[in-house]
Amino acid sequence: MGKTLAVSLLTIGLLTFSIPLFAHHGAASYDVSKTIVLKGIVTDYVWSNPHVFVKVDVKDDSGNLQHWLIEAQNPRSQTNAGWSKNTFKPGDEVAVDAVAAKNGEPIGRFTGRIVINGQVFKP
């Protein structure tokens, strides 16, 4: 990675998610060996097939902004996981566990813990 982001890197030797969460698209594009925590402000939340996703502006240590996109599964899978079209709003402050794209692009996939405006999201 080039610039240091406002993330903490947790190296985890085993998969942190269960297979059913990713029934539609595999994780071929993601580095699943590491969970990162992305902290920032939501700028967009798209509730759509094939993937619900959230856009988050993340500041690195130098104060530079990175525009991340973090994806989940389709709306029905997400409804089954307790999400709705109202789970996120632009302006929300979030801290999200994710796995990141292998190619270094600011794209990630949700892997578990989500904190929205200081509250842990518990569906």
């Binding site: 269960s18 297979i19 059913p20 969460l21 990713f22 029934a23 539609h24 698209h25 595999g26 994780a27 071929a28 594009s29 699943v32 759509s48 097939n49 094939p50 993937h51 996703f53 996109l69 994806e71 389709n74 709306p75 029905r76 409804t79 089954n80 307790g82 999400w83 709705s84 109202n86 789970t87 794209a101 292998k102 190619n103 270094g104 692009e105 794209i107 929205i116 509250q119 999201f121 518990k122 569906p123």
Partner: protein, 305 residues
Amino acid sequence: MPNRLAIVISALTTVLALSPVLGAQTGTSQTKQEKWNNVPPPESAYAGKKSGPAPRRDLSGIWDGTAPGGKGINGAKEYPAVLPGGKGIDGGQPDERNIVHPLPYTALGEAALKANHPSGPGVRTVPSALSNDPLDSCDPIGFPQMELYELDTIEIIQTANQVVYLNGFYGNYRTIWTDGRELPKDPEPRWNGYSVGKWVDDYTFVVQTIGMNEKTWLDHAGRPHSDALRVEERFHRVDHDHMELTVIIDDPKMYAQPWVAVNKYPLQLLQPDFDIPELLCSPSAMADYNKQVASTLAKPKPPKN
């Protein structure tokens, strides 16, 4: 007093604001607050529940196919495209050697498999932008893929001469004729084929399907089928709340012998007021996803400076 009132109002507002997040998980209509977009109950909700006897010659109802064990694995449930121990789901193999339960491909079948590049988890998965899965451009899911991939919430409606199968995932339906007609000879192929069914006893309904076009994959792992495919389904009504589905694939062009793709898969009866959330495939939404996400994910890693 005004300050206390302000605190109460602000506390109530906070609770209400959080309720879409906190209250989103709903169960069966016995416990849910919502009438719409229902979620199947967790497995534990079914534990220890006694069911009444099976009705005779009746499959009708809204059925929960998200039962334990099957939903997440891609590939026909008896033949998941994974290595022993569930490994290998991130792809990297051109073929299916060493998967836990290999399929009896013919040479043609093996070649047809390799031409399909799946994006779901499995030994042959590729990034979705590099996949040629017809579902990614919203082609109809077809039959039997609608039972070998995302057998989620389905609804079955019975009339005097039909069993109608409604698949919640991507909103498909199939008509199974029960009026005794023969399967057609050399029909124009269909995405969902041509189906006839009959009761072999009061609790077992057997369906034969032919005439499926070659535009669909058999499952999400990219298994192929030809127009010679014949599918047999056996729906067994176990008791009032349970049904088991078995699906048998017979395609001599692609597979050296018939094989059981789904074996007594458990379906649980849902409440009759269960509202299945809609999930339809939209080509414009897919194109938008490919543009915003998939194509970026598939870019090669830039060389180190």
